[in-house]
């Protein structure tokens, strides 16, 4: 009996570690790449994908730091996180000669400020934060963040659960810079958010569209793709790019230093850059597409909706989140006090 138990433990332990499998360890946003796309990759390349998710850039960084260096082979950080990871020497330079589908990428989104010449990263998808509302519920129109303060919207708004974006939105509403670190301005932002609080039903970054689709909320400040998906389900939803300005982000492929399965990670990037694969991703999660070849394959529903296919001139107006160093402590205070 004892022998059997010991044997069993050893077998389980061995199956758990020991072997060096043909695999790739990916850390990505939740709701970003459909399961089907990953299964197809596994089948086509005979590589096992170990897939973990996060719901904010901060969580991505935390998971990267908590795990031993080399745990993850491929991550999808946004612009400001890429900048930080380069600065902290946590990601490696990319060997673009290993990618055959590189030319598919829209050149307008290459060589941006956060990673000049794309030494360390390549863009995957772009996103914007938009307001979406039920036009039957709202009298007139919503055009700005300040419109959300209307007491009639009590308990009817869903916001992203992201402290930088939401505090940034309050700063924009007050006419300040989205990345302002001035303590008085942050105090005003806190007051603004406290005024908004009675109208907030929930904070959710993972699937805010569900709140709109189940009519739990009538107004949302959510990712553009989530807005697009909600609009596919309900007819009376309207999308707005607020007049005070709005947040945009570009999520990127990047490989942490000491990644163990570098070649498999390149294969995965190259696979994702394929026009047909990107098409599948965009159809399921309609963020702003950055693949020129895929653009020709997309449906009119996608192309004609400004929530999903964010027009380039809109995108240029958008504001990136920037690193703010020690001011993060003040942001944390504001966040704790509005919750």
């Amino acid at each position: 009996m004892k022998k059997i138990i010991v044997l069993l433990i050893f077998m389980i332990l061995l199956s758990g570690c020991g072997q060096t499998k043909n695999e790739v360890n990916i850390l990505n946003w939740s709701s970003y790449i459909p399961d089907e796309v990953i299964r197809d990759f596994e089948e086509e390349y005979n590589i096992k994908v170990n897939y973990n998710t996060y719901s904010s850039n901060e969580e991505c960084l935390a998971k990267l730091q908590a795990a031993k260096s080399g745990t993850y082979d491929l991550i999808f950080p946004s612009d400001y996180l890429v900048e930080l990871l380069i600065d902290k020497e946590m990601i490696q330079t990319l060997d673009k000669s290993k990618l055959t589908n590189l030319s598919n990428l829209n050149p307008n989104f290459l060589n941006l400020e956060y990673d000049p010449n794309n030494k360390y990263s390549l863009p995957f998808l772009a996103a914007s934060v938009v307001i979406i509302y039920d036009s039957d519920f709202v009298d007139g129109e919503i055009t700005s963040y300040n419109d959300l303060l209307n007491p009639q919207y009590k308990n009817n708004i869903v916001l992203l659960d992201d402290q930088r974006i939401i505090i940034g939105l309050a700063l924009l509403a007050l006419g300040y810079d989205m990345n302002d670190t001035n303590e008085e301005h942050l105090e005003e932002a806190k007051e603004w958010l406290l005024e908004l609080k009675p109208n907030i039903k929930a904070f959710d970054s993972d699937s805010p569209k569900t709140f709109m689709i189940t009519k739990e909320t009538k107004i949302g400040v959510i990712w553009n793709a989530e807005a697009g998906l909600a609009m596919n389900e309900l007819d009376n939803l309207k999308v707005v790019y607020p007049e005070e300005g709005f947040n945009i982000s570009i999520d990127n492929f990047a490989m942490p230093v000491n990644a163990k399965n570098v070649d498999n990670a390149y294969k995965f990037i190259d696979y994702i850059l394929r026009a047909d694969v990107m098409q599948k991703i965009i159809e399921e999660y309609p963020y702003k597409n950055l693949n020129i070849k895929t653009q020709e394959l997309l449906s009119d529903t996608y192309l004609n909706n400004i929530a999903t296919n964010v027009p380039d001139d809109y995108f240029k107006e958008g504001i990136f989140v920037k690193n703010i160093d020690e001011a993060i402590i003040n942001y944390d205070r504001v966040w704790a006090s509005i919750k």
Partner: protein
């Protein structure tokens, strides 16, 4: 030979207790006195700033809210579990066994999925609202969740077995003859209840309260899922320090603070005559 057996029995547990309990907690204590680099790293400079920061009104409010919700949940569990245990203990022994097993079954299935079950019941277009509306009891759907009520229901539900089991254990140990004797001597039912039954179950009550209150303030996922991320409990605050604000030292200081609160509660429990072995023993 005897030494050999002693070694086999004790070596693993000593190693375990030192490496997986003592050392991690000492390490957390150590980190709580270091400085954060604001990017998830630790700068090894001694500071007590992290402890001072706990007393910032903003964070004290989080502690206060958690304590309030924790107390309400504990009280609700107690008010359900106590009469329940007494009524069950009046049944025949084999029926008692069956009923307690029935309490255990939900407890043995995944707590997240049961939380999801509540979402299905409580949401705006959920089962409760649909039934109430179809019976014309209400015109507009009620908000059962995405507020503190949702957190309260979820926590009470999840933690109820932790209250029922210790209380049932202590109630079922009461000697029925003492109650009969009291009745024969002409004591009124209410007097019997407060003077005889309740005092002999103090340790069970307090045991249940500890096993309910402590998890209640630490369970971040119920506040996330049923509270709509609007209410921050201590568990959420600590989780945020590690996963969002990238401030391990402050998160560690909060953890140490929580451990101290826990120990004070356990001390109180021991003073009231409770045995440590009964905690968590089902």
């Amino acid at each position: 030979m005897n030494r050999n057996l002693k070694f086999i029995c004790l070596a693993p547990v000593v190693i375990y207790a030192l490496i997986l309990i003592f050392f991690p907690l000492i390490y957390i204590l150590f980190i709580s006195f270091q400085t954060s680099d604001n990017y998830g790293g630790i700068i090894y400079v001694f500071t007590i700033y992290n402890y001072i920061r706990i007393f910032d009104p903003v964070y004290l409010k989080v502690f206060f809210n958690s304590a309030i919700i924790g107390l309400f949940v504990t009280l609700a569990c107690l008010l359900i579990a106590y009469p329940f245990s007494i009524f069950v203990s009046e049944k025949k022994p084999h029926i008692q066994k069956l009923l307690i097993t029935l309490v255990l079954i939900p407890f043995l299935t995944n707590s997240l999925i049961r939380t999801y079950g509540w979402i299905v019941l409580l949401r705006k277009e959920g089962i409760f609202n649909t039934i109430l509306e179809s019976l014309s009891i209400i015109d507009n759907p009620l908000s059962f969740m995405y507020n503190n009520l949702g957190i309260f229901i979820g926590l009470t539900y999840t933690l109820l077995p932790f209250m029922i089991l210790p209380i049932y254990n202590s109630v079922s140990k009461i000697d029925k003859k003492v109650i009969e004797a009291a009745r024969d001597l002409g004591a009124k039912p209410l007097n019997i209840f407060f003077k005889v039954i309740v005092p002999s179950t103090y340790s069970g009550i307090f045991n249940g309260c500890i096993m309910t209150f402590i998890p209640a303030i630490g369970m971040f996922f119920i506040a996330d899922l049923l509270g709509g991320g609007k209410t921050m409990l201590i568990g959420n605050l600590i989780k945020n320090q590690f996963l969002v604000s990238r401030n391990w030292p402050f998160g560690s200081a909060l953890s140490i603070f929580l451990i101290i609160v826990t120990f004070l509660l356990v001390r109180l429990y021991k003073k009231l005559g409770g045995k440590l072995d009964d905690l968590g023993g089902f």
